[in-house]
């Protein structure tokens, strides 16, 4: 279906309106003074910056209404620098807008293609240069240059190796083994059940092996455990998980199963564990079942036992990978 389109005449460019400063010399003089004042303000700002750097000691505090108690040295340094930079810019813009030429110029748009003569000339010059360099004849140079350029191109690819190596099964394993003592973090003291009252928590790590004098952060990031004591009758666990507790003491991995934040906000009254990053909430009495939030799995529970000296130890390693999901995760 064809429409008869009514042609509209080109309206052309609207008439140019001159600024007041173009027509009125008094206004122009006024604008000139304004620009000068702005530049002077900038100069004053720089002087303030210099003076406050030299003259204001850095231990004086002044009270400002909304800001509160503020360090005078820093405050005036900042104000001085802000004034000096801001008013230079403001003066320049005001100058350009009010006093600099206000001509309107029309530029016709053309194709960006060079004329055919120029293009022919370029090809000719390039070919002459190539033959003068002897690229076609000297194949040894051509090939060795190709080799060196190719190898240069390869080197960034080599750096991709730093994305690896693949973690292997290190994400599935922690330092907890059967019989590893639970020790306080910090302090490294072994813990007896009677050290914890009902309602008490302890941040724990696996005891260091003989000869080990420090832990790596990547180990702490997997090994951190929260120990909590409840009344045994408050548990609502199946027989296996109940056997992993000891007299009301239960231990969970502190690494959130969502994104790996440390889940250690334990609310003693509700027995909820809260992750500070995305508010995933876990129920301690039901083996850290997820009550709320984006976490998809309960926190892994660490099975507890006592060693011969009566200290709390891990009965076995974690039975699943701690922390957030990853592609190769088995469960």
């Amino acid at each position: 279906m064809a429409h008869d389109l009514e042609t509209i005449d080109d309206p052309g460019i609207p008439p140019h309106v001159h600024r007041k400063t173009d027509t009125d010399p008094i206004a122009a003089k006024k604008a000139e003074r304004q620009v000068a004042i702005l530049f002077l303000l900038s100069a004053l700002g720089t002087i303030l910056f210099i003076v406050s750097y030299i003259a204001i000691p850095d231990d004086i505090f002044v009270f400002l209404p909304i800001m509160g108690s503020t360090n005078a040295h820093q405050l005036f340094l900042g104000l001085g620098l802000a004034f000096s930079l801001f008013f230079i810019g403001m003066g320049a813009i005001h100058w350009a807008k009010t006093l600099m030429p206000d001509n309107e110029v029309t530029v016709q748009r053309h194709e960006f293609r060079s004329v055919d003569d120029d293009r022919r000339e370029f090809v000719k010059t390039a070919k002459e240069g190539a033959s003068a360099a002897g690229l076609g004849r000297r194949s040894l140079i051509k090939r060795s240059l190709g080799l060196s350029l190719g190898l240069v191109g390869l080197s960034p690819l080599l750096l991709l190796r730093d994305l690896g190596p693949l973690p292997g099964d290190s994400l599935n394993k922690t330092s907890w083994k059967a019989g590893t003592r639970l020790v306080t973090d910090p302090g490294d003291r072994p813990i007896k059940p009677e050290d914890l009252e009902v309602g008490a928590v302890a941040q724990v790590l696996p005891a260091m092996l003989p000869g080990q004098d420090h832990r790596t952060l990547s180990d702490i990031g997997k090994d951190a455990v929260l120990l909590i004591r409840l009344r045994p009758e408050e548990f609502n666990l199946d027989a296996e998980r109940l056997s992993w507790t000891h007299e009301g003491i239960i231990a969970f991995s502190k690494i959130c199963s969502h994104m790996g934040c440390a889940v250690a906000l334990y609310e003693q009254q509700t027995k909820h564990l809260l992750c500070p990053c995305h508010q995933s909430t876990f129920d301690v009495t039901r083996a850290a079942k997820v009550l709320f939030g984006p976490a998809a799995r309960p926190l892994p529970q660490l099975a507890l036992a006592l060693d011969a000296e009566g200290y709390l130890v891990a009965k076995q390693p974690f039975n699943e990978a701690v922390g957030p999901s990853f592609w190769e995760r088995s469960s």
Partner: protein
């Protein structure tokens, strides 16, 4: 002297002298052995407990029960100890203003003497954590800020924020700020676990370590805000909010002025 010696053969002279001598010996003895005997101490203590009981019956028993056994809306206070009472009442959290999710800190209702009496009464019901003595709280002399900082970051910062400013918990509950809290109340909170807070036993965080935590909190409190408004010291949330509203607002204003045609 002459006038006194006139009366030395008076009938009452001998008995009077005897009485004066006896009184003198008695006073000297009681001053020399300054410790009052045990029965009078126990008497004073039971008087304080009795006073505490009277305050408890008037102010607390409607929720906590006539014998502090607890009720539907309030927990039992048997065995919570003097430290718990001192923390809850001296910081004004108890008595609660209303049955909201959390007892808030407010001006205390009872005087320090009344709090002490209440604490003595509740402590008399069953043994519990005691109010820590001054020797455990001398953070100006003992403790280590560095160790306290490490302990705070590991045990306290997840709820009370890295700078001790407090933070949100679930369903309207929150961990209050630890700034401006008296050392004794910080200590009591750690050993009693008030409201949502868990208990930090003395074997897990030793009394010396607790003192270091207090020392760190006091040093964080004294930290000057070099940049002026600390914006609550809660980190990127308030800082981002300020930049996004005030900072970008100023930039928009400048951009509008830049694009405005001069007339």
């Amino acid at each position: 002297m002459k006038r006194l010696s006139k009366y030395r053969r008076h009938r009452a002279a001998a008995p009077l002298l005897l009485i004066i001598a006896l009184l003198g010996i008695g006073t000297t003895f009681s001053v020399a052995s300054a410790t009052p005997n045990k029965s009078s101490l126990a008497l004073a203590r039971s008087a304080i407990i009795e006073e505490g009981k009277q305050i408890f019956l008037k102010g607390c028993s409607s929720c906590h029960g006539l014998n502090a056994e607890g009720g539907a809306i309030a927990p039992s206070l048997i065995g919570v100890g003097a430290a718990s009472v001192d923390f809850q009442v001296a910081t004004g959290r108890m008595p609660m203003a209303d049955m909201s999710t959390q007892a808030m800190r407010k001006a205390p209702v009872y005087s320090p003497q009344e709090v002490a009496a209440l604490a003595a009464y509740v402590a008399s019901l069953a043994p519990g954590p005691e109010i820590p003595g001054d020797e455990l709280l001398n953070y100006e002399r003992d403790g280590s800020v560095a160790e306290g900082g490490e302990l705070f970051r590991n045990n306290c910062a997840m709820c009370h924020n890295f700078a001790g400013q407090g933070g949100a918990l679930t369903q309207g509950k929150y961990a209050p700020t630890v700034m401006g809290v008296e050392p004794v109340h910080i200590y009591e909170a750690m050993i009693t676990g008030p409201q949502s807070m868990p208990v930090f036993s003395d074997k897990i965080i030793t009394p010396e370590e607790k003192l270091s935590i207090i020392k760190w909190i006091k040093s964080a409190e004294a930290e000057p805000a070099l940049g002026g408004a600390s914006l609550g010291r809660v980190g990127p949330v308030t800082e981002g909010l300020l930049v996004w509203t005030l900072g970008i607002g100023i930039l928009i204003g400048v951009a509008v002025w830049l694009a405005m045609k001069a007339r």
